[in-house]
Symmetry: C2
């Protein structure tokens, strides 16, 4: 079964359960609105790819872990878009949840999705409760305080920012969760997989900066220039478009070298390579192809 | 060890972990601000009391379950107080989290606390991963969609309200979670304990209505008259102060009769009785003492 089919089936099963009778109707539909249509579903794709590379010991738990990751990611998007945060009217090319519904329902949609992420793992956990608990521990660590995406957002309220903690939490956390949770569901020790997730997270941050610099709001489906507006650090501002593209390619090479030895190592490397091609925005694909200058 | 000591120790250990270095400082302190000083800590008290009545098979897991319940309850208070919900400036006699910090930090405080609730259980779950998963499943069910406190809030955005689903979700859910989770941590089947939690939840709803009708904002530490303002149903409006007090006493008798047979049945009955005395607001304590008229 293609990865996308597994991810969408697991995701929709979770959402249907949460919105089932006697759910209040608007909040029920808002949950589905918040997770569809999907973006690239990149975090669950990484999670399932790692689980399969590790041997896919518990496929149902891998599906649940992948769905939980995407649900948590969508929850964070709904809350990030709120008027008191990014005040974004659009997301993935359609009105953001608080615009399509209202602000209380957007807060509740985020809350319900966070809870649903853990419920999805717990519900699938009976074949191996110990592994399910490890999946839940990993997701809490990478989404809450002090290391997760909540902490990442929290840093944006601080006068003095610990930049490495900020980046790791804000963009890296859910990618590290993706590789760790894939390994756990695949029956392996998650620790050697953290580095791959961290590299992929860093690559996505740079790719986001490139997209922000190169593409307009209509193509992107969300407001551009938010970093400048909120004073966040940005790879393009620091290195220019060419330099940022070269950095992105270097990070992705590092990601591929960091893949731990496992039964599906080769096909996982191909997946990361394919992802790399996809995430570099089209106008920059011809850039940064020169070999890295030593010491750069 | 007195229950309050067990609860506070477990709660503070969880909060310290979440706010530890390298946490963003404001969000870290906001987590502690949101859970201290405690109210009556009634949900964790019920949870631990039930666990002890059942034999307290896994005391550390019972402590974690109790702390998780209180953390989830505090998260819901932080989000309920937001400007787009109740717009409450005060809570437990001090400024609400969005007033003391700001709105983004209040949203993140709620999100981080929800995640911390699950983390607290997962972290303590190793003695019995299967029971820990059951605790997490129960907490997700009673806090998310379609049956939990999120659903309860969600009903307030609906034009047509399923009143029984609304009340069960809004006020009953975390009390049912308290008795169920106490039973699970105590080593028993949770199902026979649902009724006790539902009765206690109903009693608290009526007690809240009485407090809202009888006490002023300064004594209560939060804005009064919110039900009238938001058009919610209210026992005092329906039955008057005397009628509502009698109903409260009847519900609590029903609660005591519903306690399943267990080693600590008698002392649990005394705890529920003592709670009953405490939750009836002082001005109503002389009311509703006549025996119930049959058929009433």
């Amino acid at each position: 079964m293609p990865l996308k089919t597994r991810i969408d089936a697991a995701l929709m099963a979770a959402i249907r359960e949460a919105g089932a009778d006697p759910a209040p109707q608007q909040l029920g539909t808002a949950l589905e609105y918040a997770v569809t249509p999907g973006g690239a579903r990149i975090r669950p794709t990484i999670c399932l790819s790692v689980a399969m590379a590790c041997g896919d010991k518990h496929p149902m738990m891998a599906d649940a872990a992948a769905a939980a990751l995407e649900i948590m990611h969508c929850a964070s998007l709904v809350h990030d878009d709120l008027p008191s945060f990014d005040d974004a009217d659009t997301r993935r090319g359609k009105p953001s949840v608080h615009k399509a519904y209202n602000e209380p329902l957007a807060v509740l949609t985020g809350d319900s999705l966070i809870i649903l992420a853990f419920e999805t793992i717990a519900r699938a956990g009976h074949p191996d409760p110990k592994a399910a608990l490890d999946l839940i521990m990993t997701l809490t660590k990478r989404s809450g305080m002090p290391f997760g995406i909540c902490a990442g957002q929290g840093w944006e309220s601080e006068k003095e920012v610990n930049l490495s903690a900020y980046h790791l939490a804000k963009t890296g956390a859910l990618f590290m969760a993706a590789t760790e949770m894939g390994a756990i569901a695949g029956g392996q020790d998650p620790e050697p997989w953290v580095e791959l997730g961290a590299h992929i997270g860093e690559a996505f941050q740079v790719a986001d900066d490139l997209r922000d610099a190169l593409m307009d709001e209509t193509t992107l489906g969300k407001p551009v220039g938010q970093d400048d507006l909120h004073g966040r650090p940005n790879a393009v501002t620091e290195l220019g478009v060419d330099g940022a593209t070269r950095r992105l390619r270097n990070i992705l090479s590092g990601a591929i070298s960091s893949i731990p030895s496992c039964p599906g190592e080769a096909s996982l490397a191909l997946m990361v390579q394919a992802t790399a091609e996809k995430i570099i925005p089209e106008p920059a694909r011809h850039l940064g192809l020169n070999p890295t200058v030593p010491g750069e």
